[in-house]
């Protein structure tokens, strides 16, 4: 102990919060200092335009970044033209706002363009101990680096740009412990789905989640990003993982890594033993099988080896009707029309390698449309240097340029109404991937195996 002053054990989230909390008002709301902001074309242009109309400056233009990812086309040789009606206007508005305020933009064909959360990690925009916001619900992905990251709305974005702060009441804390060592065919995506399936899509009830436990410690940085990415589907305000050696070496390799790096400070970003959490949840990772969703919420998931469960109520009945599935049907017998590999959830290099391992020397089943959209230019370049693009093409996959693509349908590209898609994305909501599209969420390996078999399938035994 430190003399007579008792040290109160503190959670990682509380430490990050304290580093950024300017003040807390009597009404319980805090002003949180924001170190980095990154915005995309779907909302960035509107916020920047609103700021200009207020005759306001971006308070710290050096800390604000723009990226084109949401509605940009993914066909090779693309330009500003989008399949999305009006999409070009969104790109133009962001570009114009970035130029007017002097912000760095990762534009359509920039060498470092990609989905905002991947770009944030690759560039070192997100670093341990920093706070970061982005007008996208999957910003929690960056908690995997020990970044205090929040997804925000457009009005909040405008506020952050004008004031460098976010108005936010401190969320409750929740420790989610993933015990044990998962099977070799089980990925972070499967653990995230199982967690949401077990505790529900609002299981975190707005808390800031810290993921910990043996399975998390064993995960690579990219897998932790997948796990944290899905925290928003768990109802979390955000997620965080204590940065370890591999995180530090990963962020130190980024272009914007500080020199000298505050490594000693970063290594103190851990939860102290005995620190209090408001909520706790545990999962035995060793017992988890590869997962696939059968309904229209990520909580509607089951083992890929299981059957469609009997509906538990009206919501599940409605989901089964939308998905055109009968209870008792073995999931592995469900034929598919399409396979999609992409999104901020599962389009990093490890995801593509995992899928390519399944696809090597094989072909997509007849009648199955298959698409791979790397999450960023860097991922795309690495994959192409390793020859993965050839593996995907030889298997019958289309190989695209980076962007959010078919994770959601903005009026651009869809597999079509009534089509059944196995997808590495994060949301199986009704009509999310296009009107009438039936989405089954799964890991890259399950998606690749399903594409080859023409029905939902487990990856080969390892």
């Amino acid at each position: 102990m430190n003399g007579s002053v008792p040290i109160v054990p503190t959670t990682l989230f509380d430490k990050l919060w304290e580093r950024h909390c300017v003040e807390t008002a009597d009404d319980g709301e805090s002003l949180l200092y924001v170190d980095r902001v990154i915005m995309h074309e779907r909302t960035g242009g509107i916020a920047l335009d609103a700021l200009a109309r207020r005759r306001r400056a971006v308070r710290r233009p050096d800390q604000a970044f723009c990226v084109v990812d949401h509605v940009v086309d993914t066909e090779p040789g693309r330009g500003d033209a989008t399949r999305v009606p009006g999409g070009t206007d969104f790109i133009a508005a962001l570009r114009q706002g970035a130029a007017a305020f002097g912000l760095r933009i990762f534009d359509v064909n920039d060498d470092d363009q990609g989905i905002s959360h991947l770009v944030s990690a690759e560039q070192g925009i997100a670093l341990p101990g920093l706070s970061l916001v982005c007008p996208d619900s999957h910003t929690c992905t960056l908690g995997a680096l020990g970044t205090l990251a929040f997804g925000i709305g457009t009005s909040e974005l405008e506020h952050v740009l004008a004031t460098s702060t976010l108005r936010i009441a401190k969320p409750a804390t929740m420790r989610v412990v993933l015990n044990g060592r998962p099977r070799l065919d089980v990925t972070a995506k499967d653990l995230a789905l199982k967690l949401i399936g077990t505790f529900g899509a609002a299981g975190a009830a707005g808390a800031a989640v810290e993921f910990a436990g043996q399975a998390v410690a064993d995960m690579g940085v990219e897998e932790r990003m997948t796990l944290c990415n899905m925290a928003t589907e768990f109802g979390a305000a955000t997620a965080v993982v204590a940065p370890d050696e591999q995180v530090l070496s990963s962020v130190l390799a980024t272009p914007m890594a500080p020199v000298p790096a505050p490594v000693a400070e970063w290594s103190r970003l851990v939860t102290d033993p005995g620190a209090h959490f408001d909520h706790r949840a545990e999962l035995d990772a060793a017992q988890v099988e590869p997962q696939v969703t059968w309904g229209t919420s990520p909580e509607h998931c089951a083992s890929v080896h299981a059957a469609v469960p009997p509906p538990s109520g009206a919501a599940a009945r409605r989901a089964l009707a939308y998905m055109a599935l009968e209870p008792g049907t073995p999931l592995r017998s469900v034929p598919i029309d399409a396979a999609f590999i992409g999104s901020c959830t599962n389009a990093r290099i490890g995801d593509l390698r995992s899928a390519a391992t399944v696809l090597a020397g094989r072909r997509v089943a007849p009648g199955v449309a298959a698409l791979c959209v790397p999450g960023s230019r860097r991922v795309q370049r690495t994959a192409e240097a390793e020859g993965l693009d050839e593996v995907f093409r030889a298997a019958g996959f289309e190989w695209r340029e980076p962007g959010c693509s078919m994770c959601f349908f903005a009026g651009g590209e869809t597999f079509g109404s009534g089509k059944r898609v196995v997808s590495t994305t994060n949301r199986n909501f009704e009509n999310r991937q296009g009107p009438g599209v039936r989405t089954h969420l799964a890991s890259p390996a399950v998606v690749a195996a399903s594409a080859v078999h023409g029905h939902i399938a487990a990856p080969d035994p390892v």
Binding site: Y33, G86, H159, G235, P262
Partner: protein, 206 residues
């Protein structure tokens, strides 16, 4: 922002769980770089016969004549989960919704509501169902009255207390603008930033 103190209006129930922001405003209905022009796209997949703005589905609750002019939406658990798109709140507001009553909300959606003068009122599901049942009997006549000062919703019987953060309540009651509020704290922010940069110089980009 228009302050909200006491609001009476026709209620409309949409009690299913996990109504996500993609359902509230499908991305394809966001066609212009604008906060407006979104009301017609509200719940497009459910509200129109072919899912596209055009022919309304007469069976969908928002299209029922007895719900005309509805301004209070009764929802289920985890209302507004999913995408952070503020277009969802802009679409609800443009349609005329001022209050959403549900057991709980997506965290970003809840904040987006308050930023636009809409009240997210937290009420346990059983009480939401009771309010809906009373409204169902004669929607145009059995209007709900939401009193933000007292944090109560008046239906048939005893007023139902609802949950709303103190900060959100004050913001809505006064119709305050976030940026104007924070501008009053500019000196504190400047001081905090100067300290942060001094203590952790690496945070500041060259």
């Amino acid at each position: 922002m228009v302050p909200l103190t006491v609001h009476s209006g026709v209620a409309v129930p949409l009690l299913r769980a996990n109504v996500d922001t993609d359902a509230i405003i499908p991305s394809r209905e966001v066609r212009r770089v604008s906060r407006t022009g979104l009301g017609d796209g509200l719940f497009a997949n459910w509200r129109y016969v072919d899912g596209q703005t055009g022919r309304p589905d007469p069976e969908f609750v928002l299209n029922r004549p007895e719900r005309a002019g509805a301004s209070i939406l009764l929802g289920g658990p985890n209302f507004g989960c999913g995408s952070s798109r503020e277009y969802a709140v802009w679409a609800l507001a443009e349609f005329g919704i001022r209050v959403i009553v549900a057991p709980d909300f997506g965290p970003i959606f809840r904040k987006n509501c308050v930023a636009n003068g809409l009240l997210p009122a937290g009420v346990p599901m059983a009480a939401v169902r009771e309010l809906a049942a009373w409204s169902d009997r004669d929607p145009q006549h059995n209007r709900l009255t939401v009193d933000l000062v007292a944090a109560r919703i008046k239906g048939a019987g005893e007023p139902v207390p609802f949950d709303v953060s103190r900060a959100a309540r004050i913001r809505l009651l006064r119709g305050l603008d976030d940026i104007a509020m924070t501008d009053c704290r500019a000196a504190a922010i400047d001081a905090f930033e100067a300290e942060r940069f001094a203590a952790e110089p690496w945070v500041r980009l060259p």
